[in-house]
């Protein structure tokens, strides 16, 4: 039995994708934990940004809101939401993390509603918030999510935030900035990227304890697979120690 849970795995894998000296806009929860872990391991110089205006804080604790005092505690800058979003639009922000109720094969994400009547949704979610903006304007979008066949679907009810839209060059034809788009989808079972040409979701790494069949069975659309499929490097002891002792000692996130 592995001595870590799926959330810990996803956070450790996400953190490794944040290189030193990069900029990343995060929300509360797992993305913030991943960014903090990266800072405390290989990326001391990672610039953490919050959409409400807090940039490069010395985070004393997990924020409960992307606009609370923690997000600009001893920060380099406490600015406006437009300034943060314009910094993304200008091309200065490398990464962001999104969550959602549904994701499709092109990395489009739904955080708005379930149902087919927008005026009277069956189930209503908060909506875009800053998600659409960050997915549109940051260079690389990542997602951490538990994987199942309902969440990973080719019948997404509402595209809240843009992935590669209908694949190929459609994202850029629609007017979104060239070279942007979904980068990694990190689940409890695998790590996915996207095909260069078609922009269709493609499995790159398989997490310990899962098979190709598990991964495909828990996905509502046909997945592509990397030429040489590599096993996910599991969380290292030091990553887990820092995550548990320094990043999330109250287990707000890794305890879920």
């Amino acid at each position: 039995m592995a001595d870590y849970n799926p959330m810990e795995l996803m956070i450790c894998v996400a953190a490794r994708n944040l290189e030193d000296g990069a900029t990343v806009v995060v929300g509360t929860g797992a993305p913030c934990a991943a960014a903090m872990l990266a800072q405390k391991t290989h990326s001391p110089n990672l610039c953490i940004m919050f959409e409400a205006g807090g940039i490069a804080p010395i985070l004393p604790a997990m924020p409960i809101s992307v606009g609370d005092s923690r997000t600009f505690h001893k920060a380099i800058l406490a600015t406006s939401m437009p300034d943060v979003m314009e910094t993304c639009q200008r091309g200065m922000v490398d990464y962001t993390f999104l969550g959602g109720a549904q994701i499709d094969m092109y990395g489009n994400i739904n955080s708005t509603m379930i149902g087919d009547n927008h005026a009277k949704p069956k189930v209503r979610f908060p909506g875009s918030g800053g998600a659409n903006d960050l997915a549109s304007l940051c260079w690389r979008t990542m997602m951490m999510t538990p994987q199942d066949a309902k969440r990973f679907t080719d019948k997404i009810n509402f595209i809240t935030s843009p992935g590669y839209l209908t694949g190929g060059t459609s994202r850029y034809d629609a007017g979104l900035p060239k070279g942007t788009g979904p980068y990694r989808i990190i689940t409890n079972m695998a790590i996915m990227g996207f095909d260069e040409e078609t922009k269709w979701m493609k499995v790159l790494n398989v997490n310990p304890g899962y098979s190709r069949k598990d991964i495909q069975d828990n996905c509502g659309f046909e997945l592509k697979w990397a030429e040489k499929l590599v096993d996910t490097d599991p969380p290292h002891a030091d990553e887990l120690r820092i995550l548990r002792e320094e990043v999330d000692p109250h287990r707000y996130i890794i305890g879920r």
Partner: protein
């Protein structure tokens, strides 16, 4: 090449008029006099907010919010308001419970971020009784900025190609220099804005510390602006550091001194949010009948913010929240 491109537009309703000349006509007659604007929340809401108006709230949902004005809007039973759901969390919980809103510009609603979703707000939005138009946080920020700049629209590069755009009232345009496709966001000139600040003078010259979200633009874009303030300071303090003036007096119609006025929300450097109280509120919302009683006791039966604060622990509670804000609460 421009000819070839098909320009799309969102299909939902625009709840406010982006016309810059009409806004100019209003601002032409707005008073610029630097006079004492101190009053009560009751008077400010009675005088400056009408049924059917477009309402905006400063801060960020449960951070630096003008709670006294939100409660007063409910107590005065203002109706048929349009509301900008620009990360609307606790502010929206209050307005929905008061049944004040019938049109909603959505960026982020019904959630309280890491705290979870509001059953009551969710019921209201799923009922179909509120008209919904989709936007995003940056889009609402830029719509407000367009108004602050005296324009009828601003171009941007977000939202295109998504259903968020499809259910918005945005329109696509082409850059006349590069031929690149842009989205045009319509200016948002709200009828009324309430903003909570750290300090301001009696004329409405204000200081704000920490993230400013969209409040500098909002104070300029809105036709009527009410400030609630932790404390009133002398005008000399404003003139000592003119580069630090966050909102200037000519934007402001009324000033209400409300110490601890962002409670139960977070006020940066002053006090943290009352997470236990916000959690209790969310829990009680699960039972509509129980919540009616709770909301009546909290808002309708308190005659002003000070009574409300007293009901929930008063200054003793604030002292505890200040320790949390200052990270000095650990044993």
């Amino acid at each position: 090449m421009n000819k070839a491109v098909e320009l799309k537009q969102g299909q939902n309703q625009l709840f406010s008029d982006p016309d810059a000349d009409k806004a100019r006509e209003f601002f032409r007659h707005k008073s610029r006099a630097m006079v004492n604007k101190v009053t009560t929340a009751e008077d400010a809401v009675k005088r400056l907010l009408k049924d059917g108006d477009y309402l905006t709230i400063g801060g960020f949902g449960a951070n630096r919010i003008p709670t006294a004005i939100l409660h007063e809007i409910v107590r005065q039973r203002k109706k048929n308001l349009a509301f900008a759901g620009h990360t609307a969390t606790h502010d929206m919980q209050i307005l929905v419970a008061g049944e004040c809103i019938d049109r909603l510009d959505i960026a982020y609603i019904i959630g309280l971020e890491a705290r979870g979703l509001s059953p009551s707000s969710r019921r209201a939005v799923e009922s179909g009784n509120i008209k919904l138009t989709e936007w995003t946080n940056a889009t609402l920020s830029w719509r407000i900025k367009a108004a602050a700049m005296g324009l009828s629209f601003l171009p941007a590069r977000n939202i295109m190609g998504t259903d968020t755009f499809k259910y918005s009232a945005d329109k696509e345009i082409l850059c006349p220099f590069t031929g690149q496709k842009y989205v045009a966001h319509p200016a948002l000139y709200p009828d009324f804005a309430a903003i909570h600040v750290h300090e301001c003078d009696v004329y409405g010259n204000a200081h704000v510390y920490g993230s400013s979200v969209s409040d500098q633009d909002l104070a300029r874009a809105a036709k009527h602006v009410v400030l609630t303030t932790e404390r009133i300071i002398p005008n000399e303090e404003i003139r000592r550091t003119p580069h630090a003036t966050f909102i200037p007096f000519w934007c402001v119609d009324a000033v209400v001194e409300v110490p601890f006025g962002s409670y139960p929300g977070n006020m940066p450097y002053e006090y943290f949010s009352d997470e236990a109280y916000l959690k209790e509120w969310l829990n009680i919302e699960k039972d509509p009948e129980e919540f009616k009683k709770f909301f009546k006791k909290q808002v309708y039966d308190t005659k002003n913010f000070n009574e409300y604060l007293e009901l929930n622990g008063g200054i003793e509670k604030i002292i505890k929240l200040r320790a949390i804000e200052h990270l000095t609460d650990k044993a």
